[in-house]
Every structure is written in structure tokens, then in C-alpha cells.
Amino acid sequence: MSSLSERPRNPDVGQAIPHESADLHVTGRALYTDDLTGRTKDVLHAWPVQSPHAHARITRIDTTPATRVDGVVRVLTADDVPGVNDAGVKHDEPLFPSEAMFHGHAVVWVLGETLEAARLGAAAVEVDYEVLPSILTTAEAIAAESFQGGQPRMERGDVDAALASAAHVFHGEFECKGQEHFYLETHAALAQVDENGQVFVQSSTQHPSETQEIVAHVLGLRSHEVTVQCLRMGGGFGGKEMQPHGLAAVAALGAVITGRPVRLRLNRTLDMSMTGKRHGFHTQWRVGFDADGGLVALDATLTSDAGWSLDLSEPVLARAVCHVDNAYWIPHVRVNGRIAKTHKTSQTAFRGFGGPQGMLVIEDILGRCAPLLGRDPADLRRQNFYGPGQSTPYGQEVTQWDRLPRAWDQLLRTADIANRRQEIDRFNATHPDTRRGLALTPVKFGISFNLTAFNQGGALVLVYKDGSVLINHGGTEMGQGLHTKMLQVAATALGIPRASVRLAPTRTDKVPNTSATAASSGADLNGGAVKDACEQIKGRLAQVAAQHFGVHAADVRFDGGTVSAIGSKADPIPWAQLTERAYFQRVQLSATGYYRTEGLHWDSTVMRGTPFKYFAHGVAAAEVEVDGFTGAYRTRRVDIVHDVGDSLSPLVDLGQIEGGFVQGAGWMTLEELVWDESDGPNRGKLTTQAASTYKLPSFSEMPEVFNVALLPHAHEEGAVYGSKAVGEPPLMLAFCVREALRQAAAAFGAPGTSIDLPLPATPEAVFWAVEDARAGHADGAVERGDRAERHVPDQPGPDAHAPHPRSEELASEPAKG
């Protein structure tokens, strides 16, 4: 066992405890960024003027009518920017644009004494536009060759030869739509300038350090002149990784210019119409199976719909490409990726970070091809799992290959799959207008940021004379329970009760140069750093104690708030007594902690390396029931076995698994981003830009029976106290819901019916699938072998540039989530 993963006696980690802020949450006392507005004096409110066109040159802006509106204080325009007029890290996101790049693009911002004044002011600003042609869909972008960023290619073996000799070859296309984060708390920032010119921005951000950098460069300041604090977020899910920066910068600019605090909070409509979402993906594919159903080759071209600017699209695409294999050994693989530039919001990180879009490709293929191969989809999946000694297409060995089969077999038992299958067959045979389906799908998800530089974390731990402990770390709390875990890590590392440890809000002046709280890596990186800081302090205290007990420091034990020594007859001393003693002996009681993940390397130019510290695994089974009259459905039961290593905090991890699953199920079924793609006056407008039209799962979508088990014997050597990351992987467990719907719809037809089910599989989509199945023309929109060579996925030519290593360094890297 590594020293990183080993747990001491009576560890606090591993205890199932509620969220550290639960009491504040339930009593309405927990503060979020915008709750500070009413607690701050003389705040100005910001509201944008949004473009009514998907693409247009701005020919004139007249702000004077706005300044005549009662209560309007100022209109912020490009002319006000003292530094760089850009909100991104790629210099392709002008903060005050001269060309509107999507419907809803903020052109200028109005500051008002009240929100009402700012809104009325924004309505009064006059902007003239010269409308330009716009590209809205991936298909339009492909036809127009409207791409941006690098075009990675991952290749292993000889795909063409393998397909030529494969027993079964199929080809088809697959399109998955994007997803709105719908964090319940919309974007918010509150900026102030102190007497010394120090800019202080409270922001709902997953990446305070980057928010700080962007605010600084917009204002023409250096990083030490800007402090960013994030108290907590009302959800992030990746949507607050890059997107908060420009909003914080507008607030900060307003504060610098007016000398008054500025609050910028997007309401839901603004948030949905302005900020990035999960990328939709379009995929062309060819696949080959051997006579027994073994996968032999996959040739796929993935085109992501990135919207108007790059944002994190390159690393998102890279992670998608790296996850097309999901859990399956595919000897010959060629995956091309490209990024469509469209006139939509700039799509961004979202739980899974492209991984899900990649994994869906193979899961969709297996779901559509299994009936055509005459195979049960679950058996086909199980058969193709990785085995010992096998590696991913990018060359990383799948060392824990045994975990998925173990989890799968456990699920078959605990979810009573065989008996339920029979029950479902009986049910389907006797219910002419209703069908049930039961599907199992696996998840294998790589954990780490691919760009090695991002795999570092920092912490600052302060121990006071009275023995109380305050920890700061670089991660942000968005509900995922990171702070809870960090308290547990600190209590464990110091051997003191959790009640002696407090956690301070995340601030850039406590821990500098942090990575985004993303890629599920928050606990791994910050946990490593907190543990490091605690151990430094403990090491110093051990010296003090060793003197006291007259033993060697290695024989000092910290446990439950008392300090004792092996082989000493002296009474143990309380922790607080030791800290006081240490103070008087002039021993330093604070430490900065640091952690870097070892053993990673990645070459993005050839898409090869060992980018991931380890893989997280899980399997899920969903049973659904479909109403043939309407296509409406409900989820009757879900069973999950998931690998979280040795859990740091089981209640938190359980919450991540369940919550991730339901969020994924929403994407699979209900949540539908609909853009106006007509040539009408609203072209480019997101027509589902409100909670009333964009439907999230509610109580009615929760599985009626929901069983989640953590995979036993799952110690992870490579992470803090043997745990594994849990933030993202469970989202992909929800693929089984869509596969179950596919099977239920197919059950309305003859055996061998294959269903091409849109994503999201809305009731309407399921209804048409049922109609096709009933009519006997459901072939999965998959074409067979012989003509397959005529349907080679687009192969980006030699002039398509590989990902630019430098641009990736600047932006982020291929596996950031």
C-alpha cells in the first residue's frame, strides 16, 4: 500500500457523514454569491444588451438613450476596457464584441441603481446590425467546412484491412444533442474595489485562479491586484469552469469605473441564452465484428458542435476521442475529431467533459447492432470487455481490467437480472400496448487532467495555539462534497476530531495558481495537498511530542485528539496541549501543502500516452416501461454497482452517484436544446431557454426503485487514502436508460428489430420508434457490410492541423472535466 493511499487507525475518512454545510443549507443560512448583494451597500446592477441575430456585424451603438433612463449610471462598452478586451484564454472571445456571434450575445452592459433601471436602460440602448450568414447545425458546418481548433486523430492497427476481413461490417451515423447545466444557482459575480485599488470579486466560479487572471488582463492589472473568492456554488457541473470569467470581468470593470460595488447576476433566461453548454456531437462510423460478435475495428469521425469560440472544445474533443472505446477492447481503431464552429453559445465543460459523447458512440453502435447480429445486447457488451494485458487505443494499459466484470457479475446477481428478464418477457407477451425493457451498460472513465501541468493541487493549513485548525485549499465547493472530504482528510491526517477543523472559503490569496475544480479531480489533488500540509505540521509536532515523551518521533501517535507514544509510560497529552507547547517552543504551526500526480504523460500530437492515473468503473441496469399509445415512459427500477475506490465519504459518494445518474438520465431522455434553425427572424435563438421549456428530471423521473452499491475491495493505490474520483463517472451510468427504452420500443416489433433512437429519447422520439417497430421497418438506420466501404467517415485531409500543443497549454488540456 502506498503512503498516499494508506489509512491510519480510526480514520475519519470513510465515515458516512452529511455535507459539512447541511445545517446551513436546510435553514437557508448558507450564503451564495448573490446573497451578498443585499448585504453590500450602494450596489449597482448590471444587465446586458443582447444581439437579436445569430451573426451580425455591429455597425452602430448609441448608448445615450439608456443614460436618459432614470437610475441608469453607466453603459460599459469596449472603449472602457483598460486591458485586453477578451474573456477567454484563446483570445477568441471578445468581451465587448464588434461582431455578434450568436443570438443573445452580450454587446454592451448597462449599470443601474436598480435592476429595473438597468433592464430598462438595456432596452433603450440602440444597436444597428448588419446581418451576416449564420451556421447553426453540425451538418451546415461540415458542408461549409466551418471548423476551429485542432483536429486530433487517434489510430491503432489497420482499420481498413480489419474491416475488409471482418465477418460483419455496419455503418451509420449518430447525433447526440447538448445539455444545459442548469445549476440551480445561475452565474453571479459581485465586484468591489478597496481603498488600495485591490479588486475583490466574489464569483460563482469553479476556477477562481483563472477568473482572477481574466479579470486582471481585462483590467490591465497583475494577478496580485485581484482577489477572487468563491463561498460556494449552487451547482457547477463544468458550467462554471470557463464561463464565469467574462461576467466577473464585466462586474470588476464596472466597479473600477464607478467606484461602487457591481453585481452581475444572470437570470435564467440570460444564463441559458448566453452561457455554454455540453457539446452536441455528430459521428459517422463504421464498425466490424468477427463471427462471434467480437469487436474487430472501429472507424469513426466525431464532429463536436462547439459554438462560436473554442473555450474548452479542444480538450473536450480529446477526451471524447479517448473514450470511444468505453469498456471495450477494439483491436483496430481510427478516430478522427474536429470541432465545428457554429453561431451558438460557446459550448464548454460539462460533467464528463466529452467522455460521455465519446462513450455514447460505441454504446449506440452496440445497441443498434446487437439485434442485427442476433445477439442480446448485454451479452454482446460483456463479451467485449477489456481483458488482461490489453491497452486502450491511446496506449494506456487497462490494469484494473477485472473490476468491470466483477461489478457486472455482482449486478447480475443483486439486481436479479435473469428472473426479471423472464418476467419482462411474460409481461410483454400479455400487454399489447405496453412494453418493458431492461438494459445494462458499463462505464470506464479516465481520471486526471491530460495536460500534466494541471495535475497539481495546493493547500494552506493553519493550526492555532488552542489546537483549532483552519484549512484552505484550492478546490471549490459546488455541492459535490469536496469540503466535507477535505475536513475528513485533515482530521484523519492530524488524528484529531473533525470538530476541531474548520474550512475557509476558497480564495486566490490563500492558495495561488490553482487548477479548476474539475475532471473529478478535486478530492485527489486537494486531498493530496491538504494531507501533505497536515503531515508537515504533524511531523513538527511529533518532534515536540517525542521530546516530551522521551521517545523517537516515529513512535509518536496522533489519534482522536490525543497524542501518545509507543513504549512510553507517560500519559497521553491532548492535542491542544501539544500545539500550545509547540508554539512556545517556536515551532511553525502552519504549512502550505502541495500535491502532484505522478506517472502521467501525454502527447497530444499523436494522441498517445498514459494520460490517466486510473480509471473509475461502474455498471448500471435500468428497467423502463413504455406506453405504446404515447411513447411516454417511466423508469421502474435502477441498480448500480460503482467503483469509488475506498470511499472517503460514503454518503457524499452515494449522492454523487445517484445525482450523476439522474442528471445523465435527463440528458438521455428529456432535456432538449432546440435552436431555431429556420430562416425566420429568430434564426439562432434557443427556443428552450427557460425552465418551462427545457425540462429537467423532477421527482416523476426518479427511478421508482433505486439501488446503489459501492464495489467492494476497490482500494486505489494511486490516490489519497485509497479513494477514487466520483464526480463525473456516474453520469454515464444513465446510458442504460436509453438502451432500455431502445429495447422496449423494439419489443413492439418482431425479434431482431433494431431501433435508431434519437438522443434525447423524448416521449415523441420513443413514440416514432414504437411506430417504426410496429410497422416492421426498424433497421436501426444501420447499413450492412458490402456497401460500407463507400461510407468511410470523413477523413480530415493532411492539411487539417493536429492539435496545437501550445494552444492546449494555454487553454487547458485534453482531459479536463
Binding site: V26, G38, R39, L184, M478, F629, A690
Partner: protein, 488 residues
């Protein structure tokens, strides 16, 4: 029934009691929501997640009349004007408990992992507390029901609350683990005293006036104001327009507490339902008397919305996708409209004249809805929407059939979402009447119904799907009413 109407506005100006403390509403403009008012007072527990009644992050408790006493009812604070709560009593999550002194609902939510990011949590706590205090919540129903806990907790109470983090399971467990309020629970005790009555209110910020008249005749007189006036009842439509579209009105006239609009009674000819009763109140007072409405209520918005929304407001919008109209069409209801010249009674089938247009004159309001008795015995309300809880209809079909010896004696079908107005499906009715209630008849009627209306494509559904749903609605209805397999 509403409590006594007090006609005197407090000398200190309009006040609202929040968590036991009286707070001045001052010159609050009529467009300021209760939520923004509370947050402006530093009570930031209630959150804004959508400002359109969809997420429940803004849920608060309000004391409402219940028999001789009162009930704690949860509703969306983001929708109603704050000034509509003059004289009323409100409790927020902050008022239920504090760290170290948690309310039982808060205790269960905290301990069971019911909060992750915590942003939805205060709203869930309030919605859950309302159900916790529901006087007729009775533990242990005989048949297991996935939407009802062993403690009688009705999951519909949480149908208007969204959580993006937890996946709901721990919240459900918290709800189902709740016991009953103790004797000494002050909010439980509060229920034995009457709720505050309606308080005559007149508040203006200069440009936006809010008026609460206390009699129907006063209200009708106000409608004659030279300025543009606007009625508001539960404000579940009005609040959305005010928040998102910046709808503003020079004069807002509140009718939701007019006693004349809050009666429900049955004569030998009809059941009369006051236009300002909330849907929850109607549901409770009818107690299943009108099956078709019962079938509708569970599919109409959320509990939070139904606690505020009125029939008058639903019909007042003239919306082609309102759910009440199809049901009332199938019930052959009449509307009582009151204007300066008194009452007139119009069949609902004549009420809608065009897209969001009705025969109601600007100086009239809807006083009540009359539903003729006897009622049809075989009914169904089919709502086609993406989500089962709290979604707007793509298509709504209401059926009311009188069957005699397996033959359709009379059929009435109301439709929503397939034309510029709600429709009676006369042709499909004719295809059913006098025929045996068989698959053949249903198929013929399905063909006719499928050709009714002029459905459109939008983000909710395609025109093709809407048409298909009209067709399959009859088939499903027929299957449901004749099949043994009710579970299917």
C-alpha cells in the same frame, strides 16, 4: 372560505408578517415579487432559480384559511407581487429552524444527504414542511403507492421543486421518514386560529399601482378606470410575464380574495366553482366529486402552482394550451361573467373566439364556473407532455362519456394545444354517439379526431406527433375503460 375581510389598512402602511416579525411593504412597486422583497429584507434563504414558478427554490409557507382554522400552504414566492401579501403571514426556511435548533423537516433533510449544493434546499424544506403540517395527512394507506409514503406524505407536495444535484432519492427518504408535529410545535398550533383575512390595499410607487378591493362591486368599478387595468389572481401567469417579459401594469387589481369569487356549492342543476378559488382548494373541496377534474389536477402544473393558480386565471389568459378549458369543454361548463351590468352566463364552447381572445369584455371578470349535473360517468384527461410532474401540455384531450349497456349515449371531447383556441371535437363526438364502445368505434373516432384542429410544430412537439396523439388518445381511452389490465 376566506376569513373576514378587514377594510382598514394599517396606519403604518401595508405590512407583512414574516417569521413572526412584521415588515413594512412601504412603497413596494407592484411588479416586485414576494421573493425579491424577502431577499431585499436580508431573508436570502429563499432563492431564485428560474423566476417562473418552475423550480421551487423560492418556495415559502403562507397561512391560508382551512375551515375554521388555517393551513400552512407552500407556494412560489417568485410569482406574486409582494404587496399582494399585505396583512398575511409568511414563514421561510429561516423561520422554521436554525443551526443547532433544526426543524424536524430540516433535520431529516440534513441527515439523509438531502442537500448537496444546497441551493434548492430551503425551497424543498418549505414545500416539505407544508406537507408535514397538512392536517389530513394520514399514515398507512392500504395499497402501496410509489408516490405516497408510509407516513401519508404525498410526493405531489414536492412536484414543483427541482434539484439538479441529488437525484431526489434522499429527499424522498427524508419526506417519508417524517413523523407528526408535536403538541408544542408553534406552527402546528397556529393552525387552530383563523388565517389572516383579506386586507384592503392600495400601494403605488407612482407609476404602478396595486389595488386590492374587498368586494366584487368595488372590483368591477375599478375595471372602469381610465388607465390600463389588469386583473391578477394567483399571479402564476402574471408573475412570469412580469419577471421575464417585464410586463408592467399601471393598475393591478387583485381578485384572489374576493369572497364572491371564492364560493363552491352544488344546486340541483350544477356545481358552481368560484373563479378565485385555487386549484388546490377546489381539489380539496370537491373531494373527488368531479372525476374528470380530479384526473386533471394531478397533471396540472405542480402543487406549489396549484396552491395559487385559479380557474379564473386559467381561463382569463385565453391560452390555447391551458388545461382547464379542455376539461371544462368536456364537462359542458358555463362561465358566469360579471360586469357593470351584472352577470351573464355563457357556455364555455362559445367563450374562446381566437388566439388569446375571448368574448369577455374588458370591464368584465369571470366570477365562477358552472358544471352541469349529472356528470358523465366515464372520463379521462390525457395530457401529452415531456415530463409527468409539472409540464405544459403539447396536447390535452378530455373525454366525458355516458355509456349505457356498452353503447355511447353521449360523448363530449375537449381539446387543447391543437388550434388557436381550445376546441370541442364535435365530429369525433358524433362518431362515438350511439355506437357500441368497441375498438372499431374507437378506431373510427380516432380517425376523425386525428383530423381535428390545425396543430403546429414547436419545441414541445411536432405537428405530426400532436395529430398522432389525438388519434391514439381515443384508442388509449377505449383500452383503459374496457381492459382488465388496468396496470398496463
Amino acid at each position: 372560505m376566506m376569513g373576514d375581510v378587514s377594510t382598514s389598512t394599517s396606519a403604518r402602511g401595508p405590512q407583512v408578517t414574516v417569521n413572526g416579525t412584521s415588515r413594512s411593504l412601504g412603497q413596494t412597486p407592484s411588479y416586485l415579487s414576494l421573493l425579491d422583497f424577502l431577499r431585499g429584507q436580508g431573508l436570502t434563504g429563499a432563492k431564485e432559480g428560474c423566476a417562473e414558478g418552475e423550480c421551487g427554490a423560492c418556495s415559502v409557507l403562507v397561512a391560508r384559511p382551512d375551515g375554521d382554522g388555517s393551513a400552512w400552504v407552500a407556494l412560489n414566492a417568485c410569482l406574486p407581487p409582494a404587496v399582494a401579501y399585505a396583512g398575511q403571514e409568511i414563514v421561510t426556511a429561516e423561520g422554521l429552524g436554525a443551526p443547532g435548533d433544526l426543524h424536524p423537516v430540516q433535520e431529516e433533510m440534513a441527515q439523509r444527504g438531502g442537500s448537496q449544493c444546497g441551493y434548492c434546499t430551503p425551497g424543498f424544506v418549505c414545500s416539505m414542511a407544508a406537507e408535514y403540517y397538512r392536517a389530513d395527512r394520514a399514515p398507512g394507506t392500504a395499497t402501496p403507492d410509489p408516490e405516497r409514503g408510509p407516513n401519508g406524505f404525498d410526493l405531489q407536495a414536492l412536484s414543483g421543486n427541482l434539484c439538479r444535484c441529488t437525484g431526489y432519492r434522499p429527499i424522498r427518504d427524508a419526506a417519508y421518514a417524517l413523523g407528526s408535529p408535536g403538541e408544542d410545535d408553534p406552527l402546528a398550533q397556529r393552525r387552530t386560529a383563523p388565517a389572516p383575512g383579506a386586507e384592503a390595499t392600495r400601494v403605488s410607487d407612482g407609476a404602478h399601482e396595486f389595488v386590492r378591493p374587498t368586494t366584487l362591486s368595488e372590483a368591477v368599478a375599478l375595471l372602469a378606470d381610465d388607465r390600463e387595468t389588469r386583473l391578477v389572481a394567483g399571479a402564476t401567469d402574471w408573475g412570469v410575464a412580469a419577471n421575464l417579459l417585464m410586463a408592467r401594469s399601471p393598475v393591478l387589481i387583485a381578485v384572489d380574495r374576493l369572497p364572491e369569487l371564492r364560493e363552491l356549492h352544488e344546486t340541483g342543476e350544477h356545481i358552481e366553482i368560484g373563479a378565485a378559488l385555487t386549484l388546490s382548494e377546489i381539489e380539496q373541496q370537491l373531494a373527488g366529486r368531479i372525476t374528470l377534474l380530479d384526473q386533471l389536477f394531478g397533471q396540472f402544473a405542480s402543487r406549489l402552482i396549484r396552491n395559487a393558480a385559479t380557474l379564473g386565471g386559467n381561463l382569463g389568459t385565453g391560452s390555447p394550451i391551458g388545461d382547464a378549458a379542455p376539461a371544462l369543454l368536456a364537462l359542458d361548463a358555463r362561465l358566469v361573467l360579471t360586469g357593470p351590468g351584472g352577470d351573464r352566463v355563457v357556455p364555455i364552447a362559445d367563450y374562446f373566439t381566437g388566439y388569446r381572445q375571448t368574448i369577455r369584455h374588458p370591464d368584465e371578470l369571470i366570477r365562477s364556473v358552472r358544471i352541469p349535473v349529472p356528470l358523465a360517468a366515464t372520463t379521462a384527461f390525457h395530457k401529452i407532455a415531456k415530463r409527468r410532474f409539472d409540464d405544459i401540455s403539447g396536447v390535452a384531450v378530455a373525454f366525458a362519456l355516458d355509456l349505457q349497456d356498452g353503447v355511447v349515449r353521449r360523448a363530449r371531447i375537449g381539446l387543447g394545444g391543437v388550434a388557436a383556441t381550445p376546441l370541442r371535437a364535435y365530429d369525433a363526438e358524433a362518431a362515438l354517439q350511439g355506437r357500441p364502445w368497441t375498438l372499431d368505434t374507437a378506431q373510427e373516432a380516432a380517425r376523425v379526431l386525428g383530423a381535428t384542429g390545425t396543430p403546429l410544430d414547436d419545441h414541445r412537439a411536432s405537428a405530426r406527433y400532436r395529430t398522432a396523439m389525438l388519434r391514439t388518445a381515443v384508442l388509449k381511452f377505449q383500452a383503459q375503460t374496457t381492459s382488465e389490465e388496468v396496470d398496463a
